[in-house]
Symmetry: C2
Subunit: 339 residues, 2 copies
Amino acid sequence: MPTSVKSVLPVVLLGCGGVGRHLLHHIVSCRPLHAKQGVAIQVVGVGDSSSLLVADDVHSGHCQLFKNPEASGKVIEAATTLGRSTGLVLVDCSATYDTVGLLKAAVDHGCCIALANKKPLTGAYEDFEKLVSNFRRIRFESTVGAGLPVIASVTRIIASGDPISRIVSSLSGTLGYVMSELEDGKKFSEVVKTAKSLGYTEPDPRDDLGGMDVARKVGSLYPSELGPDAMSTKDFLESGVAQLDKSMEERVKAASLKGNVLRYVCEIRSTGCQVGIRELPKNSALGRLRGSDNVVEIYSRCYESSPLVIQGAGAGNDTTAAGVLADILDLQDLFQKMA
Amino acid sequence: MPTSVKSVLPVVLLGCGGVGRHLLHHIVSCRPLHAKQGVAIQVVGVGDSSSLLVADDVHSGHCQLFKNPEASGKVIEAATTLGRSTGLVLVDCSATYDTVGLLKAAVDHGCCIALANKKPLTGAYEDFEKLVSNFRRIRFESTVGAGLPVIASVTRIIASGDPISRIVSSLSGTLGYVMSELEDGKKFSEVVKTAKSLGYTEPDPRDDLGGMDVARKVGSLYPSELGPDAMSTKDFLESGVAQLDKSMEERVKAASLKGNVLRYVCEIRSTGCQVGIRELPKNSALGRLRGSDNVVEIYSRCYESSPLVIQGAGAGNDTTAAGVLADILDLQDLFQKMA
Ligand SMILES: NC(=O)c1ccc[n+]([C@@H]2O[C@H](COP(=O)([O-])OP(=O)(O)OC[C@H]3O[C@@H](n4cnc5c(N)ncnc54)[C@H](OP(=O)(O)O)[C@@H]3O)[C@@H](O)[C@H]2O)c1
Ligand SMILES: NC(=O)c1ccc[n+]([C@@H]2O[C@H](COP(=O)([O-])OP(=O)(O)OC[C@H]3O[C@@H](n4cnc5c(N)ncnc54)[C@H](OP(=O)(O)O)[C@@H]3O)[C@@H](O)[C@H]2O)c1
């Protein structure tokens, strides 16, 4: 009777902001659905930057609040007790690097990890290696393109021995929108201002145009003379950005003559990673992209001439939290009791 | 030490044709890769329509051959012994409905199931219900769009409580090619003949144009007067198909006037499933589709205005086998021994 075999998976949530709150909501509203699959997710602790709320008794709902540094000690305690027995998933929905110590300790105790927060994976290389050392016990779908099934798909492809040769992607909704609007002959400065008025950009659009959200080593869309050290956001929008119109128009036209369009893409090959403006065929998945969707093209032996393409909304608290919950449910398989 | 924790998962393979052979090849060539993740897949039996080869001793390589009906008995024996202990995955790469009895017996013994063969899921509804009754123990990625991560993505979305409102897809490479070629003003009959000469169609192209590969309840692209009962393949290609040119040209033009294109799609909503020619916006993922790629658009709360799109090659023995292997590796998580 599969539906009566309850497998309870305890979860500690670090970070309870936009994504974390949505996750708690999803966990509660999915209870009946998960019960049908014989699964129950039980939140035994929720932490923010200063404290941790621990469920003493999940039935009575009795809780205790611990302040740091005691709070971290409580997380380790739960990891030590539960890690190798019932299992424990440490979920990081914070936006800080500070959680990495706790996450590494959890790995040592056999716990699983689910991340929306990309910082622990993108800091020191030793941290990354440690966190992924038991690869079936860590999931981080929502660190790339929110809930889009990019990591899950890449993991499946690798697991099946199909070697990935390159991944080309447009992972910034803002830059995706800007580049695709240019095709219609609109001025760069107009497109940037419209993007800002639609709420697609950061308060200072240069935070997006600098590309820092996509990778550390980037091709910025503006020169340093127009940067934050040289002029205010107001001046940039009123006069600075228009200085880029002509050169951008020329680049768009030159590309168009070759049947290409400009896209701001990240390309990963075995030889390294490149981020910046690229000319791509109008007819490729990335070339056809309009609006603020994220797109990822994966090339491998199986997807050689025509890549595996995954496309959709790559941001939003709801979607990001949904991706984390799907990760937790996958991890739950590791702790299923045999019927 | 995660890499030394060997979790051995026994597999019985039913069907050793194009897909099955590729799967065996992938399993062997992935051994070093899987070992790094502390995982080993061990093929303990391989069967075809008449017999089963059983590995008596995987170390010496000693095997025994059993003919039907004894062969089926041997599969059940393995299921009974291994199902609830080490776990056993019954992999169906046959192209028959005849395996369904074995598959159901395996479910009863707590075994897992991985399918490339869609027939067991699309026959009697009771069979379907039985097979998916323990949903985390069955995988069937390769029954839809070969290895494209469609089922994995749909499963993730459902698991996260994000309700799917509809799925619109183009899952026939042949019909996808035919419909997109019509846009360029080519004659229907010419496109069909070219598709045949490129090897995209069955020997009798009407097998594709009838749409039977996409679903049972379908909109055929030819009337019964041009069907296999009324004329030979040769006559159909030489004179029959040209009779459809004019009406098809008119439909393409009428759609084009509204900014639409024709696509042969399958749409699933809670109210039912429709398969046939549809007018779609030129600028939708399906409308932009060229060539023989499969495309699936998934609409849900998280993917409402702009759907999650998955696109790529939806056929091929290599890709299909890769999808099955990724499924087996996912199932393996259910039998991981705690470190
Ligand atoms: N929203 C999206 O579209 C999206 C998409 C993909 C990925 N993500 C990622 O998801 C993560 C969460 O995003 P968000 O929008 O929810 O951020 P947020 O609203 O800023 O929330 C961050 C939360 O983390 C807590 N926190 C800070 N330091 C902590 C620590 N040392 N230990 C535990 N908790 C700590 C904060 O608590 P205090 O209030 O005490 O500071 C706050 O509750 C981020 O890493 C983000 O990059 C978001
Ligand atoms: N190739 C693709 O692109 C693709 C894509 C998606 C899904 N699929 C599905 O994958 C499956 C396999 O395709 P394929 O191209 O490999 O087919 P195939 O080459 O025709 O091979 C079928 C195999 O199944 C065996 N078989 C028949 N009845 C059996 C039974 N009762 N028990 C065990 N084995 C039996 C056959 O053995 P005998 O020689 O003794 O008859 C043969 O070895 C099909 O269901 C197909 O629809 C294929």
